[in-house]
Structure formats: structure tokens, C-alpha cells
Amino acid sequence: MTSDSIKNNRNKNKNMTKWFSDISFLRESQIMKIHYITGVGALFVVAIHIMMRLIMPFNMSLEFENVILNYKNIFYALLLESILVLIAIHGFNGLRVILLELRQTQIWERGVNILVIVAMIGIIAYGTRTIIIANGFSLG
């Protein structure tokens, strides 16, 4: 009777987790932990990023040479890279959350998950390309 139905419930839960893991291999709580950590992480790196921009007059900081100089500093480049990764993960996961809440068909949910992962990788790749190339620039 009861123990049976509890067991049933357990089985169902197993199925549920299995079904979920097909798509995203992480539990929602882990995803959200990542969301929070990337959020807070982004706070620090973005703060440094902005500080760096403010040590010289704003316009100067935008001049091509200065920018490239920054990029050539390996630490700064790494900083930029981490901003890129942290915000991409945080931001696109945020988007995933919003989109998941919009519609609940299986196709949509799968689509959202795939789209978000692809976009995340895409933007990270694209930004990394900039960083690497700019890092390799030789100033003539």
C-alpha cells in the first residue's frame, strides 16, 4: 500500500532525473549555483575591467594603440577572457531561464537548451578570436 506507492514515486523520480539528464546532464540546482557564481565572478572582473579604463581619460583609453597595448598584456587578456566566459555563461543561462518559462513543449525545451549552449560557445569563440588575434598584433 503506502510503501508501494512511495516506491512508485521513487521510480518515477528516477525516470524524471534520467529524462532530465538526457538534455542537460546537470541538476537545476547545480546550474543555478553556476549562475550565481558566474554572476558574482563577473562582478569582480568587470570591476577591474572598468577600473583599467578609468586610469586614463576615457577617450584616450579608446585609442587603437592603447587598446591593443592592453590586449598584449597577458594578464589583461586573461581577464578579458574570463569576463567573456563568465558573462556568456551567466547571461545565456539567464536567457534560458526566461525562455523555459515561456513555453513548455518538449521541442521548445530541447531547442532552448541547444540554442543556449550553441550561443554560449559561439560568443565565447568569437570573443576569444578577437583576444587572440589582438594579443598577437605587432604594432607597426
Binding site: M1, I6, M16, F20, S24, E28, S29, V97, L100, E101
Partner: protein, 307 residues
């Protein structure tokens, strides 16, 4: 909640305590004037969605007599009894303990039997069905999905000793009043669905269990008599589970019973994140079947009867 609009009927959380004051002033101002009845206009949302799924809703207006203590439910029933008996409305206890009569009154989800017309400073009272529940008819909405969500969080004590099949066994749990206080608040949910209709996530997410169900999950989680903690957490830790609450707080703002579902949800989440330090102790089972004299007496009597 009055923030931008100047509508006085909007509920203001931090002004709730003023309610009592208002109560008193209402009483003193109108104590002599109960005979000179006022009358107010009631606008009621009309639809018959079961008969015709594409029915276009409209509003009907009724003039109803109002006294100091007249609640919106009284007014609705007055209109139903003497003006238009086809008004669809769900009600039962008329004392805010059964949760039937949730509806949107002047734009905010409330219990009709718990809202006095004299508290609403408008002359026209607009009643609409609760949003986020499918229409049935007029003010009546379909709760089946809401109840299903409640069921999905396993709202019952899971414990090997939960059932005592033997009638002669008298075993009692000892639970301290402090342990009781941890969940008591959440157990006074009357399942009225107001929170469910106010929550922005529920507004679009069909699979989100909603504040009511999640706070019940916490209610059983925090109960020291329950022993199946990890499984409980697993059930709600899904992509449409507890994480789809963004602490919009509306649920707690509209809850008529002080359940504060938002608090329950966030606390449950702290357990999920593993950062809560309040540990659970299983309540102590005290077996009283030994020192129980009258059972023996009963058995003796039965024996005598057999003879």
C-alpha cells in the same frame, strides 16, 4: 499594493496593520447608521467557457445593498439570490477557512468572504475570476491542475512508522514547540490559489508547481517527523521546479492566511544549496502501549463476552 497608482483599494503590505485601525473607525462612524443602507455597484465577469470555449466574456452590473459588515461574498450572493440566479460562483465556509471564494476583486486576488466592501473605497466593485486558472463559468475556475501540482510534491509524511495499523498501539511522537513552529506557518494554507494566480512564473510556466505546492514541500521537509528528505529535494530540483521562483514576492503579498510561501520556497532552496545549518532531528517516538491499562481491561471484557 499601492506604488504607482493612486487607487486606494490596492493592498499595501506595510499598511496591513492599519487594517485594524480602519476596522475600528468604520465601526465608530457607521455604528448608528446601519439602518440607512448604502448601495454599491457590483461588476461581475461573465463567461461560460465549458459550453463554448470561445465565449467572449462580458461584465454584468448589479446594484447591491451594503452594510458595514457586508463582504463581497454577501453582495455576490445577494445579487445571485434576488437579481440574476445564473451567476456562477464557488463558496462554502464564508469564514475564510475553506479557500473556495478566491477571485480578483478590484484587480487583486482576494477571498470574497474575507474582503469587506467597506474596506474597498470604491463605489464600483469589480469581480473577475482568478487568473492562471482555466475558466469554467463566471467567477468559477478550474483547480484540477493546481491540486495536481500540490500532489506532485509528495505532501505527506514519509516515514516507516507513518501508518499504525494496529489499533492497540499507542505511540506518540514528541515534538518540541520550537520544531512545530518551523513548519506550522506553512501548514495553514487553505489552498485558495491566490498565490498561484499572482505569481508571474505561473503566468507562463505550466509545469511550475507554484508557490502553494512549493511551500507545502517545505512544510513537510521541515517537519521533524518526516524522514525522506533527499527524495523530497530531488522532486523539486528540476528545470521547472523550485528554481523557477525568482522571489517576486507577490505570493506572500496576496496570501490571506499569512503562509508566506515566498519564505518557505527560499528556505527550501537554502537546503537545496546545502547552505542551511538548521539540521533536522526526527521526532522521538514514545511508546505508550505498555502502560495502558484500559486496553487490558477491554481485552478482559471481550473475553467475558465470549464466555
Amino acid at each position: 499594493m499601492k506604488i504607482f497608482k493612486k487607487d486606494k483599494t490596492k493592498k499595501i503590505t506595510n499598511e496591513r496593520s492599519l487594517e485594524i485601525e480602519r476596522e475600528r473607525s468604520n465601526k465608530s462612524t457607521s455604528s448608528s447608521s446601519s439602518s440607512n443602507q448604502k448601495s454599491k455597484k457590483l461588476r461581475i465577469f461573465r463567461i461560460n467557457a465549458v459550453q463554448n470555449p470561445n465565449d467572449v466574456p462580458h461584465f454584468d452590473e448589479f446594484q447591491v445593498p451594503v452594510k458595514r459588515w457586508t463582504t463581497v461574498l454577501d453582495a455576490l450572493l445577494d445579487a445571485k439570490s434576488y437579481q440574476d440566479s445564473s451567476i456562477g460562483i464557488r463558496y462554502s465556509c464564508r469564514m475564510a477557512s475553506c479557500g473556495s471564494c478566491g477571485m480578483k476583486i478590484n484587480g487583486i486576488p482576494r477571498l470574497a468572504c474575507y474582503t469587506k466592501i467597506s474596506d474597498l473605497d470604491t463605489n464600483t466593485i469589480t469581480c473577475e475570476p482568478l487568473p492562471n486558472f482555466p475558466y469554467i463559468r463566471d467567477l468559477v475556475t478550474d483547480f484540477s491542475q493546481f491540486f495536481a501540482h500540490h500532489r506532485s510534491v509528495m505532501p505527506f509524511i514519509q516515514n516507516k512508522k507513518a501508518d499504525i495499523p494496529d489499533v492497540n498501539e499507542l505511540s506518540e511522537y514528541e515534538q518540541s514547540p520550537q520544531d512545530l513552529d518551523k513548519f506550522l506557518q506553512f501548514s495553514y494554507c487553505i489552498k485558495c490559489g491566490l498565490c498561484y494566480s499572482a505569481c508571474p512564473t505561473v503566468a507562463t510556466d505550466l509545469k511550475f508547481p507554484g508557490p502553494q505546492a512549493l511551500s507545502q514541500a517545505y512544510r513537510y521537509y521541515a517537519d521533524s517527523r518526516d524522514s525522506d528528505k533527499s527524495n523530497r529535494l530531488k522532486v523539486i530540483d528540476t528545470s521547472h521546479g523550485i528554481w523557477r521562483c525568482h522571489f517576486a514576492g507577490s505570493c506572500s503579498n496576496v496570501c490571506p492566511k499569512g503562509v508566506d510561501p515566498a519564505l518557505g520556497i527560499q528556505l527550501l532552496r537554502s537546503h537545496l544549496l546545502g547552505i542551511s545549518n538548521s539540521e533536522k532531528k526526527i521526532a522521538k517516538l514514545q511508546d505508550r502501549s505498555n502502560n495502558n491499562s484500559y486496553r487490558e481491561e477491554l481485552e478482559e471484557e471481550e473475553e467475558e463476552e465470549e464466555k
